[in-house]
């Protein structure tokens, strides 16, 4: 993985090969877990970074649930390599991994991602079929059982915000739900999107403030300060509904309601010129600055057990 090109976009096959290579290089630190299969029968993989222990408290990071947000999957690949490089070198990350596990799902929507490479670069949703509709796919960030069906999602299968027929109808979502429930000890959950330069916390489906709003707000502020320190990229932060818009059935609203206090969602870099087509030359800087924010959240999670 030292010669893997982190500054270009890769296909699903190339990313899956990268996972195997990373595991082969660091068998004591990294393992690959299959948490399910997609609608089109592709495996769904999560990398587990662990230094031992049984069911340690854990941090979850996912990238690429919206398939066209290519900088997120590319950043996920960079994060994976960064963890293996920094463990044993960087005291903060070493301390985290000596006490907690990190789970990283790099391609959260593999069918959609493969579709962006083969047929439609602008595809956002899953690829599941809906009965009585010609339109394909569900928005996997509206399909979670948190305010499902409320305003901020669509009942129209042709919409990019189509919520699906029922919560967890998408196997890509249900697989994570099963994993999180079975694990039972995930303490931070970070879901990464692009592009708007935001760090958001619950809620999205209601304007009711989250019970931990003040703490989440302070932590978000620290995280975006760390992020900005590298290249000056400005991020806004706040709850989903007050900062961006009402969105029901979203990932981190569900995780927060399951008791995962440190639930955040990122919107990565927006140069204001390219949208989802962020040039590959910006992958590494985007990942580097995001990593600083991730480290802030992960360190805080380690130091503030609950």
């Amino acid at each position: 993985t030292d010669t893997f090109n982190y500054a270009t976009y890769h296909t699903l096959e190339e990313i899956y090969n990268f996972l195997d290579l990373l595991v082969a290089e660091h068998p004591q630190l990294v393992s690959k877990i299959q948490i399910g299969k997609t609608y089109e029968d592709r495996p769904i993989y999560v990398l587990k970074f662990s230094t031992g222990g049984n069911n340690r408290p854990a941090i979850w990071i996912d990238t690429g649930i919206h398939s066209r947000e290519w900088v997120t999957q590319a950043s996920g690949v960079w994060f994976a390599k960064k963890i293996t490089q920094d463990y044993g070198q960087d005291p903060a990350l070493t301390n985290i991994l000596n006490n907690m596990d990190i789970f990283l799902e790099i391609v959260t929507n593999p069918d959609g991602f493969a579709f962006t490479h083969s047929k439609n670069r602008m595809w956002r949703k899953t690829r599941s079929l809906t009965s009585n509709s010609l339109c394909v796919g569900v928005d996997p960030n509206r399909n979670w059982d948190a305010g499902f069906g409320n305003a901020g999602s669509s009942s129209n299968p042709c919409s990019d915000q189509y919520r699906g027929k029922f919560p967890n109808s998408e196997v890509e979502v249900q697989s994570i739900v099963n994993f999180v429930n079975n694990h039972g000890n995930i303490k931070a959950f970070i879901s990464i999107h692009s592009y708007s330069q935001l760090l958001l916390y619950p809620y999205g489906y209601t304007s009711e403030p989250a019970p931990d709003k003040e703490e989440l707000d302070k932590l978000a502020k620290s995280a975006v300060t760390a992020l900005s320190s590298l290249y000056g990229t400005k991020f806004k932060y706040g709850s989903i509904i007050t900062t961006i818009y009402q969105a029901s059935g979203s990932t981190v609203d569900w995780t927060y309601n399951q008791g995962i206090k440190y639930s955040f969602t990122f919107e990565l870099r927006d140069s204001g010129r390219y949208g989802f087509l962020l040039p590959a030359s910006q992958i590494v800087p985007t990942a580097q600055e995001t990593w600083l924010a991730l480290m802030t959240i992960m360190e805080y999670t380690l130091n503030h057990p609950y």
Partner: protein, 97 residues
């Protein structure tokens, strides 16, 4: 492959709540086949919409008639996609050689 020749991405700046509402009206016009990359939220927050070539005139006339400011963020989406593909092919060719 889906062809995006002539598609533009418009960055729209709604000055007030009334203009935000006007842009929201566009969301309901399904025949325009608009793809909201960034949906309408608050006044002053940019809204990005991918507009197919066949809808460009209608959307621009709509915005101009409502006095809503916009700029063209991406002139021709397909040319950017072609560049992205070329970069990936070039990388793979390098790896193979």
């Amino acid at each position: 492959n889906e062809d995006f020749v002539g598609h533009q991405v418009l960055r729209i700046f709604a000055a007030d709540e009334a203009q935000v509402q006007k842009v929201k009206e566009l969301e309901d016009l399904q025949h325009l086949q608009l793809d909201f990359w960034k949906g309408p939220t608050w006044p002053g927050t940019p809204i990005d919409i991918r507009v197919p070539f066949h809808s460009l005139q209608a959307v621009k006339i709509f915005l101009e008639a409502q006095d809503i400011r916009y700029e063209i963020m991406i002139e021709d989406l397909q040319s950017l996609l072609d560049e992205e593909q070329e970069q990936m092919f070039a990388f793979r060719a390098q790896v193979q050689s």
